[in-house]
Symmetry: C2
Subunit: 254 residues, 2 copies
């Protein structure tokens, strides 16, 4: 079982879009996946289940010490969803930071539970207890970023938080990599500059593959479909497939 | 003195870009403006002052009960900046929620202090104590949104939080409006659909003027310049001017 937390406290970089599509892509390739919505905005939850009344599981239960049974989305795909009530966790004491890790360990060790290959955690855009809980529970941190000055500036603080987590909460946490998303097809000068600064400073941590800004990425969750199911032959699906293959190979190398 | 909190817990919708440009635009028109960076990412702070060592004031002081003297940026423009340490506020008790409002009242009532016309508060992308503190301190909430399904879905929860703040913390808080930002010039079908749903559900709360996606908006903070100073004759500057005029007229109508 491999746990990946998709993190970046910079907002709107594509954390949910990438988590949703990666979960879909892995399950279509026969992997058993548990998607976890660690964001009170619940965008990941609504991408899997449009209608609020059909949402069964709630991550808030895990932070309250209850088991939160994963909800089946399709054959190999399960979800622990969330809602705006998850925001109350941030105001509790520090001990909540261990709850997610402990519950995921229970799921892994439970012979009666489903044997998951991948756990994907979508994170909220801010530094705090929910964010720390995901980093404490993860084997890898996957960092989406957009080619913009504000997003680049935020990486320092993010790496600081990850380093702190590695030294105090989770020494085995590794950085899977940084993936450029929402790249404008017109190859703008500013974006090219940002990309070259990124590769200079972070080297092989930056994924070779990039994700372009394509409207299909914004549309497909509306129809509860991953980009690959939505338009299998489109450039966006192929591009995402290349990125997903790189995720697998980066983990495989370990 | 009018206090505007620029809020939306959805990340990456343009809160900082709009706060920064509005502060610049108002100060160029002779208004005395205090910009407040209520986000540990400190993107607003870095837009005014690139170099960390030149940043003098810190909003964390206000939340710790100290005065935090505004730093002068230019003739009519002042800043109370922040850094990643502001994130520690979220873990304190509920009483921090009143600290920003109380400090801004002190500034307003202090005869020796500068007489500000506008206070603009840039908010972080999440619901919690920092977010509540800004809503508790504000006369108006200005809500940037992008024409995307995820951003539209989040409006319900945001309005719930605003309604709760109006009934418990700040009965005089008004919604200045919702402004569409990062609109793609190609008039995509999805975006047109989102805009029409937005206008149907929120009516006159939605600004008539919109902000298009233009790379100059992403570039100008890098040079510590507002869009109007950066390229005064460009379409982006004219477009922002129309939006800013609508902000003034919505407040004036009161
Ligand atoms: N490659 C892409 N092409 C086009 N649109 C995209 C792409 N990736 C993400 N988006 C859109 O950009 C916006 C931001 O993406 P998303 O919501 O996934 O980011 P996020 O990091 O999860 O945001 P938050 O910080 O609010 O959680 C959304 O409207 C989404 O539909
Ligand atoms: N009208 C625009 N045209 C082009 N780029 C824009 C525009 N508005 C914002 N941006 C860019 O979009 C990104 C998101 O904007 P910004 O950071 O201001 O949003 P935010 O809501 O403050 O994000 P966060 O939720 O992380 O605080 C930034 O890279 C910014 O440079
Ligand atoms: Mg998200
Ligand atoms: Mg911001």
């Amino acid at each position: 079982m491999i746990t990946i937390a998709v993190v970046n406290h910079k907002g709107g970089v594509g954390k949910t879009t990438i988590t949703f599509n990666l979960a879909r892509w892995l399950s279509l390739r026969g992997k058993t996946v548990l998607a976890i919505d660690n964001d009170p905005q619940a965008n990941l939850t609504s991408s899997f289940i449009n209608c609020r009344s059909k949402r069964e599981s709630s991550l808030l239960e895990v932070y309250s010490g209850q088991p939160a049974v994963p909800q089946e989305i399709s054959e190999n795909l399960f979800l622990i969803g969330s809602s705006v009530t998850l925001a109350t966790v941030a105001e509790r004491g520090f001990e909540v930071v261990y709850r997610l890790r402990d519950r995921l360990r229970d799921i892994q060790n439970d012979r009666h539970s489903i044997a998951f290959d991948y756990l994907l955690i979508d994170c909220l855009p801010s530094i705090g207890y929910l964010h720390l809980a995901a980093l404490a529970a993860a084997d890898y941190a996957l960092i989406p970023i957009t080619p913009s000055p504000y997003a680049l500036m935020g990486l320092n603080d993010l790496f600081l938080t990850i380093r702190k987590t590695q030294s105090r909460l989770n020494p085995t946490l590794k950085i899977l990599g940084i993936v450029l998303n929402l790249v404008d097809g017109r190859r703008l000068r500013l974006e090219r500059k940002i990309e070259s600064v990124l590769r200079e400073n972070y080297g092989s941590l930056v994924f070779g593959s990039k994700l372009s800004k394509r409207v299909r990425f914004a549309e497909s969750p509306f129809f509860n479909k991953g980009i690959v199911e939505y338009h299998p032959n489109a450039a966006s699906a192929r591009e995402f497939g290349r990125f997903a293959m790189e995720v697998i190979s980066r983990i495989g190398e370990e």
